[in-house]
Symmetry: none
Amino acid sequence: MKPSSPSLRPRKKPVQPRAVETYAWMLEAAAQILESQGIDAFNTNLVAERAGVSIGSLYQYFPGKEALLVALMQREKACMGADAATALAAPDGRAALAHMVGAAVRHQLDRPELARLIDVEETRPGVQQEVENVSNYLGLLRSTLARPDLPPQPDPEAAAADIAALVRLLVDAAGARGETDAQHLERRVLAAILGYLGAPSGIGDR
Amino acid sequence: MKPSSPSLRPRKKPVQPRAVETYAWMLEAAAQILESQGIDAFNTNLVAERAGVSIGSLYQYFPGKEALLVALMQREKACMGADAATALAAPDGRAALAHMVGAAVRHQLDRPELARLIDVEETRPGVQQEVENVSNYLGLLRSTLARPDLPPQPDPEAAAADIAALVRLLVDAAGARGETDAQHLERRVLAAILGYLGAPSGIGDR
Amino acid sequence: MKPSSPSLRPRKKPVQPRAVETYAWMLEAAAQILESQGIDAFNTNLVAERAGVSIGSLYQYFPGKEALLVALMQREKACMGADAATALAAPDGRAALAHMVGAAVRHQLDRPELARLIDVEETRPGVQQEVENVSNYLGLLRSTLARPDLPPQPDPEAAAADIAALVRLLVDAAGARGETDAQHLERRVLAAILGYLGAPSGIGDR
Amino acid sequence: MKPSSPSLRPRKKPVQPRAVETYAWMLEAAAQILESQGIDAFNTNLVAERAGVSIGSLYQYFPGKEALLVALMQREKACMGADAATALAAPDGRAALAHMVGAAVRHQLDRPELARLIDVEETRPGVQQEVENVSNYLGLLRSTLARPDLPPQPDPEAAAADIAALVRLLVDAAGARGETDAQHLERRVLAAILGYLGAPSGIGDR
DNA sequence: AATGAATGAGCCTTCATTCAT
DNA sequence: AATGAATGAAGGCTCATTCAT
């Protein structure tokens, strides 16, 4: 995964139905390889083989290995972001926060290893900016923190970043430990966040 | 970084003074390459060159690339662990916790990129067990959480793991954002932990 | 450009007006790519794209990449050959020679890089025989050398070949150096030829 | 032969005797492949195989395929240049010119196909400047043309370039036609040059 | 006739590791 | 002990060509 010179954007969007299918297969193959064999086994030849397409087809849609990874990240992030975005409809900040945490937790526990690896690879230089705004998680978080029922933060920017990181890592760590109880996990993460924000967290009932 | 069949332990401990120096140079070269060029540029030939030794010599001390990485991780963890261990002398749980967080923060802000990369690579299968007990951070954390002035935890094991993860990620994220104010960061992390633990966090003075 | 098994002749002549146009576009696209990006960038997919046709269409007219190149060469040679052929009408050998050189020079300076590349690629095995007789340059030259006002040559075959080569390279080299003054170039080439032939060359007025 | 980004200079000079041998073998293998199979068959794997070394060894000395080609060109040019340089000792301009032509002819007829291909590939962008000054042929030519027994040239720069081109192409063309008589060829080329220069050429005895 | 998705042989290059000196 | 030349498996990517639609 050295070169990195080729663009990180897909070369072309599939239009014909057959191509749409091919494209989706390639992303899913990439996902499966990542979660079952890890990043070191992630190579374009293997992805193509697993997707049941030729290596040439893969390169018709993606200019390089990393672009494939980015497209997969975006697929995952978009999915999670859509779920999280419904938090805007929540009646108050607490509920919205709960919903956002819930979205992250559900997403993570759906395919834990894949989610964890994507979180890790997201830190690659150049990749981050391609992926970060797909789910507008950070932006949503900032809006939510500004709601009146949550304690005002002296540095809202840092608070949002901290919380995003906090959600991500707690959830990753739980996934890595094999936890599968979304409810329990969600409550703990929410408690940590509320504690961090300085809000009474009702931890007693945990 | 595929063939992880060779052992992850150093082949031999350097005994002669010159060998000790060589050994240290190799680790430091590895560290510098990691922090300046990233994991993708981290290869044995480059490490040897930067260390000013031949590739053959490198393989006299390390059975393979991954063992070199592990040794570096251990060097870093040991250093941080020694600092954290002094928390045992703290008068109460809060102070101990603060000291442990402080140790992590100081270590991270010392060489942020190196620390972040090591945290990431630590999750490699096989690597984790070689490294985790070098600094007894988790163990220390468990003891500290059991101190009487901190709220008792229903699942101390999970709590310790969560907190360790929490410290790591908040601090990594801060390092990645370029934060350099150890005091400020330390306070925020501590607030998150105490919030998580359900303890009044004195956030007011943040 | 390895598999030269397919024929070098176009698959079919375009008959419908639209097809004629398409065919011409493909040749022109090939020409433009050659002159602007060089032989290494010359590939069938790019030519098709630039010509605004599908790769499938290109292969309907040409059995392979090399056939496309040959067709382009023939287009260029035919054009130059027609100009040179009017030398037959010249009153004497000197004038005829001058006209032939002039044709080559004009052609070369019209699209220098294209002409140069074609000269180079013409030496490919198999290609040469397809292209050499399109412009009957060599034949014309032989006839011209036999005219009574030019010195008789002991080996007319070799002389014609030498002169053709001489014209080509001097003109290529001038094109590569960026010369654009056709008159000046023409005079120098003619001087070289007459010198080679052992004829007084009237260099004084050069 | 697309990428061309890697440097065109050898990665390192071989120092150990074994390495010197390896290096020479690689150049010779490259030469043999070029002359027997042409530029399209010239690839690094084949060169390594023919040289009896591994592909890895080839890349220890050359940063890429093109650098190998350049090194070969330099080997050939240097050899010819050394021969041509003795022309400085010639008593007059004519003799010097004759010697320079002789050097080119001898070199060309030694390995005609190799020499021809190198002349062609020399025009690659980036390659030219790496190779052109190895044999100082053009410089020598300029000095020689300035000698008092040769007719003064209005544009010595252009004249030298023309003559260099002329020598090269006549000699290439002869090699391509399979000529092997160096004497005969040399006389014809010299005649052409002297004619071009406007000097009485004694063509009569050709 | 035209399209363009798909193919896959083949080439370039890297880098972990070995071993003769 | 140290050296560094040599190895070769592995993987990224291109592009000429085919063929179902």
